[in-house]
Symmetry: C2
Subunit: 393 residues, 2 copies
């Protein structure tokens, strides 16, 4: 297993009694020094209490510590919910002697249930004594229905010095209200100002977490946070260095976003839906969005059925400008539909073979313009129904 | 069983060899005289060949005959598809001595497969000799995955004379590309001009078929057609009479639309999602639309899980203007969420009881304004996956 370390950062993960069976449910990241930081949060109007508080604190552009609990999302918990997040942050502030504005907080798990805040505040000291260089326990502590840990450790030479980046995510669906809200923490020993972090983060989230879908439901707790501690001594202060660091960040987030789809609830496939040669970027986006969320397409992916009719019909209701009689559909390199008509049974057989793979691409070629877009999605299986119908019963 | 009759109309249903096991697959409606008529078609850009032809023919405002085949949608079949629909209509024109512009045509079934047009044209004479007053065979002939027939026969006194309306629909999903495309035929012995029919039809389709959803996928073949033959001698030519007749039409279409949800693929529940007291109608529509199509909400309906968190989180991503801390959620008359927080475990238990019923309502009260909207939807079950994953394999 890769070492989950980044110079200048420590982390901890313990059980504080929210999850059963002594599973880790409380995690902390602590930086040696105050970091420049920025974050991206859920756009859901129903934002959880910790999101409301973290949004306020990150305005400082600084972050020293992150506290996360799993097993309870502290969402739709009214005024109490907010006060419980405030209590947690105040306890961290007291024990680590940090300004409140440099503390980020997140919760993930069931929503609508009051947070047992005492279990958290009583265990902050225990978190302190469990701090290690390695982030493995932290990674475990933020998981909910995740079947496996999701992390990536990268490094690159910038200014002839080694720069490190460690990114850890949780989520088993794109973004989900109560089981698999998506969280991601990125720490680096590069030195970057918070405005640059914000711009890089937004851009890289757009090409990673904003390109995946499991069920199209969006969460109340999603957070992607990046902290730059600067211990490497490398300043990311030129366009060239920003470009280099950004490609490192993008690589990490794209990897983690695919890991989330692979671990998607009930998912048996990771399928990239591409629309190419559209008149506008918006048309391409509309088409991939509707195809990726079509229940009929997703069940056909699960059934390994080359049912291109469902794909073109989904495109047809997307509102995008295109002509079905000019459109081709490919699965990887096999053309299944040519100008709105079937390519025949031999093509169907070849495509069925492709569909038995874990990963493949569906390309809708509109033959109209030069714009394209894509979404990475999963299939819709019996297991998805099982997980979500029986979740609380 | 109700008699499926309407003065002035005959119908037939036969097997022409498209469906196996001698199941009825070719239907005809014939009016004694030329009817005023109007129709509403799928908005999907990928419209089937018969839709393209019917749209052109209905511009005449007249209709005398309707031909429908099931088992093959004649969609995404290129130029051949269109010429096959034209051949069918020309054969009807020849055998019944009717102008082409007074013939409507529809196909429903698998898409992307060439229509075996000869099986149809060779059997038009047989349709003629099978014409009856009763529409039961016609109803059977237009079914695909429907588990039961969907029809309604109504009458009312207008101008002291009895006016009849017979409406027949097929569909086992809202609107679907290849298995359950939705068709509906309404015939009446009232006399109504085609512009009035068009206006009434649009309005009543909006409050019926446009208010239902099974899986959110839309079809390439949807058609709702209404023909007014005038045999009753009753002229619908005043605002008062239009209002009266329109309420009859709306009753029929609302009934049939609910029948389609009840027969929805894998459906075990019919649930009305209402948003009330919204700031604008658009806000209410956005909220019910997102909730009704949320896979997480639909699996919770199937699992009979009072998971209001999924409902408020779906509303939260709808883009509608509302404050979760001012919002209440009811299941029938039981309040499950009050101002963004749980109403407690007793309320949950009562709501779980409600969720075991076949029909119930979920009401999202935004406490903001005076606008409301609703959608009637179904749950998402294992059976849905089974039907759609294994359909062609």
């Amino acid at each position: 297993m890769t070492e989950l370390k980044c110079p200048g950062f420590k982390a901890a993960g313990i059980n504080c009694g929210i999850k059963k069976n002594n599973e880790l449910d409380l995690g902390l990241i602590l930086s040696e020094s105050s970091c420049n930081a920025a974050a991206v949060f859920t756009k859901n109007k129903v934002a959880a209490a910790p999101v409301i508080l973290s949004k306020k604190n990150i305005e400082s552009g600084k972050c020293r510590a992150v506290i996360v609990n799993s097993g309870n999302a502290n969402c739709a918990t009214g005024e109490n919910g907010l006060s419980n997040s405030v209590k947690t942050v105040e306890k961290i502030s007291e024990i680590f002697n940090l300004p409140v504005s440099e503390i980020q907080i997140a919760s993930t798990g069931v929503i609508g249930v009051e947070l047992p805040v005492k279990k958290i505040t009583d265990n902050i000291s225990s978190l302190k004594s469990n701090l290690k260089d390695d982030f493995t326990d932290f990674n475990k502590a933020i998981m909910t229905t995740d079947k496996f840990m999701k992390n990536i450790s990268l490094s690159d030479k910038i200014d002839n010095k080694e720069v490190h980046l460690l990114a850890i995510a949780k989520g088993a669906g794109m973004i989900r209200p109560d089981m698999a809200t998506m969280l991601c923490y990125v720490v680096t020993d590069a030195e970057i100002d918070s405005l640059t972090i914000k711009e890089m983060l937004r851009s890289c989230v757009n090409s990673s977490f904003n390109k995946i879908s499991v069920d199209g439901d969006t969460s109340t707790n999603d957070t992607v946070l990046m902290m730059a501690g600067g211990k490497s001594g490398v300043k990311i202060n030129s366009q060239e260095k920003i470009k280099k660091f950004k490609s490192l960040l993008e690589k990490a987030l794209v990897f983690l976003s695919k890991e989330i789809v692979r671990d998607g609830e009930g998912s048996t496939k990771v399928v990239t839906i591409k629309a190419v040669n559209a008149k506008t970027k918006k048309d391409a986006s509309k088409i991939v969005n509707v195809i990726a969320h079509s229940m009929l397409v997703k069940t056909a992916l699960f059934g390994e059925d080359p049912n291109w009719g469902r794909i073109i019909a989904a495109a047809g209701r997307s509102g995008a400008d295109f002509d079905p009689y000019e459109t081709d559909i490919f699965f990887d390199n096999i053309c299944l539909m040519k100008k709105g008509s079937t390519s025949g049974s031999q093509a169907e057989e070849k495509v069925h073979e492709i569909m038995t793979k874990d990963h493949y691409e569906i390309i809708v070629d509109l033959n109209l313009g030069k714009f394209s877009d894509y979404i990475i999605t999963s299939d819709l299986s019996y297991e998805y129904i099982k997980i979500n119908a029986d979740y609380r019963t």
